[in-house]
Amino acid sequence: MNVEISDLTRRFGRTQAVAGVTLATGPGVFGLLGPNGAGKTSLLRMLATVIPPSSGRLRLLGRDPGVYGPRREIRRRLGYLPQNLGYYPGFTVVEFVEYFALLKDMPAGRVPGAVATAVERVGLGDKARAKLRTLSGGMLRRVGIAQAIVNQPELLLLDEPTAGLDPEQRVAFRALLRELGQHATVIVSTHLVEDVGAACSQVALMDQGMLVFHGTPGELTARAEGTAAAGDAPLERGYSAVLAAARSTAAARS
């Protein structure tokens, strides 16, 4: 298992963003769904070692990220694309990806090849020398994906990776995810259920900081049977059904 989470919580002041999540996953593409404010980004940031958990147990790639040495080792094997990607407008595409390849402690000799491969894989080969300030929002997103995959990570965390991508690019991106998921654990946080359906072998649904569903996309779809859940696609209806059930359970408890 590359990711082992046990009763993980995270508080920001009085707000409990993640409330006791337990999860384990190995290689494959894992989708993380949920409404706004469900805690997906906070969970992803803990997995990315950006913030520590308030409580609970977390092991990534068989290591404890709470200790400096193992955390550094995890980060060598980690790729992370945040929801709001910051960038340096004066850098070129290649410079930006190279910069992060170097920060990820890749052997210097391998960097040029890895950078070129990553840039090609996201379809920005002809924009390699372009300054980031000249790129569209979708292209910037792809640059973000390139820096996340440049070091061929064993754990890849993507927060809204397809934001700004056109349909053709989303199709290509899903294929890329499937290919990456053959050997790495890829966790994709997204609002787009069709991305989950097309690329993910497992999916989890979060609501109000808690995990309310964990299974396959087929199992999620099946949850909508016999209900009047809203949605234009089977997966959307399953999503709505699970959320509705979780909220009614929570309301009954309170």
Partner: protein, 511 residues
Amino acid sequence: MTAATDAPVRHGPPRAASTGPLTAARLLRIELRRNAMLWMLPLLAALFWFSTYRPSMALPPWWNLRGTLLQQQALLGFAPLMAGVAAWMGSREGRRGTADLVGVTALPRWAGQLATWAATTCWAMVAYLGGVAVVYGITARQATWGGPLGWPVAVGAAMVAASCALGFAAGTLVPSRFSAPLVAVTVFLALAAGAIAIEHNSTYAQIWPLNVQGALPPDTFGTFSPYLPDLAITQVLFLAGLAAAVLGALGLRAAGGRWLRCAAAVAAAAGLAAAGTGVGLAGTARPEAHGIVIPTLHDTANDKPIAYTPVCSQAAVPVCLHPAYRSLLPAVTAALDPLLSEVAGLPGAPVRVWQVASTHLQQRPHNGIELSGPVIGGSPPVVSLPLSGMALPGEGHTTAAEFIRQLRSQVPPMLLNTLIGGDQLDTNGQQGSRSARQPSPSVLAQQVIKAALAQVAGVPPDSGVPPLPPGSPADAAAKRFAALPAAARHAWLVDHLTRLRAGQITLGELP
């Protein structure tokens, strides 16, 4: 986007690879290419040309003058702006929202920050050392003696590194839009405060980076005796220590392993110790005639004068200057020749004017010092003339004529008082019995001859030669004597100077 590539995909990164020199070099290369200081180079070049190059070229081509400007003027223009740009670079992650992105990478954050700081400082050094190279390169072609002074440049370079470190750290800690201007203004204020502290005679303030050998005029040091590096060493120690302390503190703050934190703590502690040592040493500084001496660091070999062959004018009484002052020989000769040719060959008259190093007399309030003036002595008599501390042609609005005027207000009065006398009280033993405004007839005769020769020599009024009441018999006698042909004046002085000096000539015996 492509799911499959032609290149074989190697899955997972290789086993842990430590950051090597190649990684550091690559990081530095990226940072150098995209550093904001690079874009500031044209502005820095313009400011350098304006505040340092032009004033340098207006001064005589002396290494000590131009080296002083490179430490003072250049830093005053550069250091605050460089600190501001460094703060701008330090706040980059905060401004661009990349803190999370770079924070989850394997390379210790401190290493990444040091790469950014190093790139910023590299370009700042390029600007500063480029300006130094231009000024020193031109001086090398113009100078007639000596060589470039390295210590003012070393202090300047240390100040550049320290300014960038302070600015970078401030920008990293407070990535606000106000960081860069506040850092720049703070450095300006600190430089101004240092000047004020020195004016208040604070010895510890000698550490101030724009201080070059204290209150000694720049042309005093590095000519007759070697440039004393004592103060410069303490300044470099202080500035380098400051930079190390600040950068070490950054490392303490950045998340990292135990060894990394230890290294950062050691760097910070060593930096603080070095800076404190520098300040402490500066507190023991004392000004000497040839520079600031710090006893712990002083090498007595630097007190030995430098041998040189003087350059002399071809005149009855030659003026001999240090070869570094060759460019001033015509002006000094023009200033003194009118009087020297009058008194050449007279009893007690000097046979030569010889430039000497200044002798520090005493300290004045507000960090001032009084330097020795010209004196005549020896056998045969020689005028010892220190030129240090005078306003040189090209300095401010000083013209060659004003420089000559300065010389004529110093040397001829001293010479006339020595040769002829006439500024003491009545020598007939009636001291105090006469009013100072009514000299005795013999003293009056001395004053008449001095006034006449001063007029011939072009001595400015109020320069130490007592003025004669206009329209008085003494004034008329002075004018008559001055109107005589030079040969007649000289002949009279040959015959009568000894008696005149002894007070045995009265007004009625003057021609």
